[in-house]
């Protein structure tokens, strides 16, 4: 991985992914960074973006200006607590669905020590703990912004060669209807007295995902999170495509929604929100017997743009233990067994904010261009 940080006038979009997890880092100019979601880099066990910024010699506690947790799913929030703790000067934004007494109850019930290991709940408990610490130490930025459609989450001015370049980041979702249904879901997950304790299963919050619209000078970037297309016109991509006021031009970079799944594909995203031959960035998702993107998803994206890239191959990787006894026992006790993380990679786009040259693409680790040879 190159250890050169982008120069002041360079825009960068990096996506990281191991197979179960996704994280994004944006350099908007002048050493200012925006981080979206979080996953762990397998070797260091640190949040991917922290590890990356460290490798570039960047002090994350000063450089990171905004952190967005797009939704409550383990593959998007692993390490989020550490990210917020370390990036002390960053604002934090979360889905407005989380401002709910029922979500708060779930944090109390499941965020304690009774449930070992990390989970999305634990990460959010740690995020609020860090905000608490900021408040106690007198830091002004000590509360999370709530993302709703067309809300300006971040504004900045980048002065390059005596010219001001505006930077704006809008949330395009979740819709009111999605927020209400998520809050009902949270309520239904509050356990009944007298039932056995167990770890909470992640709710179906894809439709409360925060989709982001990024404007840096003349450049536009659409970060699709895990938002899906729904049959309800008041939720999902339909609301954004039909009602968003923040989108005025087409984007040349698209973080493909929900790991390229068919359920998140709407042809109108490509025809109405994206430029011709956009840079389409994907990360794989592999859990509970589901692997995304499927072959047909990759074919579809590859048919829409020659500039499609994924952080790691979305293939099942069979687990082969190093110990023979373990290997034999697994064969007897399990029907299938495979590794959750199937690789690790980073797709990085860089371009000069001021000129019209195309993006330069760097692929690290297992990342590759999805275009068939």
């Amino acid at each position: 991985m190159t250890s050169e940080s982008p120069n002041d006038g360079e825009l960068e979009v990096s996506i990281f992914g191991p197979g179960y997890g996704e994280a994004i880092a944006l350099h908007v100019g002048l050493g200012r960074w925006i981080l979206v979601d979080s996953c762990l880099e397998p070797n260091s066990g640190k949040p991917a973006q922290l590890q990356y910024l460290e490798s570039l010699g960047i002090n994350a506690s000063l450089a990171v200006k905004l952190i967005v947790a797009t939704h409550w799913h383990d593959d998007h929030v692993q390490g989020m607590g550490m990210l917020v703790r370390e990036c002390k000067s960053a604002e934090v934004a979360v889905s407005a669905a989380l401002k709910s007494p029922h979500f708060s109850a779930l944090l109390d019930l499941y965020g304690g020590g009774a449930f070992p290991g990390s989970s999305g709940v634990t990460e959010f408990v740690n995020v609020f703990r860090s905000l608490d610490e900021r408040r106690k130490s007198g830091t002004k930025i000590n509360a999370a912004k709530l993302a709703v459609p067309d809300k300006l989450l971040y504004r900045d001015n980048i002065r390059l060669n005596r010219k001001n370049r505006e930077v704006e980041i809008y949330s395009l979702s979740p819709s009111d209807s999605a927020i209400l249904s998520a809050q009902l879901d949270f309520y239904q997950r509050i356990p009944d007295t007298g039932t056995h304790k167990k770890r909470i299963a992640c709710p179906s919050t894809n439709n409360t995902s925060v989709v982001l619209w990024v404007r840096i000078g003349d450049h536009r970037i659409l970060l699709g999170s895990d938002l899906e297309k729904t049959s309800d016109p008041k939720t999902g991509w339909t609301v954004i495509i039909n009602e968003s006021q923040a989108i005025k031009e087409k984007a040349l970079v698209y973080k493909v929604a929900h790991h390229g799944a068919e359920s998140s594909h709407d042809p109108d995203i490509w025809s109405k929100l994206l430029s011709d031959k956009p840079f389409a960035l994907l990360s794989p998702y592999s859990i509970a017997g589901n692997s995304l993107p499927k072959d047909e998803d990759l074919d579809r994206v590859a048919g829409l743009t020659p500039n499609g890239f994924i952080t790691a191959p979305p293939k099942i990787k069979k687990f082969r233990p190093s110990d023979g006894v373990v290997r034999e026992t697994i064969q007897a006790v399990t029907k299938t067994m495979r590794s959750v993380n199937i690789g690790w990679g980073q797709v990085r786009l860089r371009r000069n904010i001021e000129d019209s040259a195309d993006y330069k693409v760097d692929l690290f680790g297992d990342a590759y261009n999805i275009q068939p040879n």
């Binding site: 356990p191 167990k198 006894v325």
Partner: protein, 153 residues
């Protein structure tokens, strides 16, 4: 008075091996030992062999779903190979007493290794479900602090 004595420790261990030995030691005579000049005869000492398990690989598992004769779970390593796994495990490999625990969110431990016994080493695979207590009325009613302070509109 301190003196040096030679102690004869006689007997066999649980495997039948003769462990009789003479040992010089400092100290005084004790209990029922018979003192013959400088030679002290002690009753045979045997260390009971305790069975123990040695894990080669151990995971903490979380049940994702149950379907027919298998359940699907994520496995986070505790001992052994370090990568997180996902497996479909046969229900018959869970002791009948614990099968009612198999439901989404349930936590269990799966250990693969050896049981060391006096009669020899035995391979073992043990799946044990964590028995978490029940939710109390107090816990459920108390939950839900005011998060307003954490949010900016």
């Amino acid at each position: 008075m301190r003196f040096q004595k030679e102690t004869l420790l006689a007997g066999t261990n649980s495997s039948g091996r003769d462990i009789t030995e003479a040992r010089k030691q400092n100290g005084s005579t004790e209990g029922s030992r018979v003192q013959l000049g400088e030679l002290v005869l002690s009753p045979p000492k045997t260390t009971p062999f305790r069975e123990y398990s040695k894990a080669i690989q151990k995971w903490e598992g979380k049940v994702i779903s149950l379907s027919g004769d298998t359940f699907r779970a994520t496995l986070s390593p505790i001992v052994g190979d370090k990568l997180e796994q996902e497996a479909e495990i046969y229900v018959q490999d869970v002791t009948p007493d614990e099968r009612s625990f198999i439901e989404p969110g349930a936590i269990f431990y799966w250990s693969i290794g050896y049981l060391e016994r006096p009669s020899g080493r035995v391979r073992e695979s043990i799946i044990r479900f964590r028995r978490l207590p029940m939710w109390t009325d107090n816990e459920v009613k108390k939950a839900g602090r005011d998060l307003t302070v954490y949010f900016n509109e």
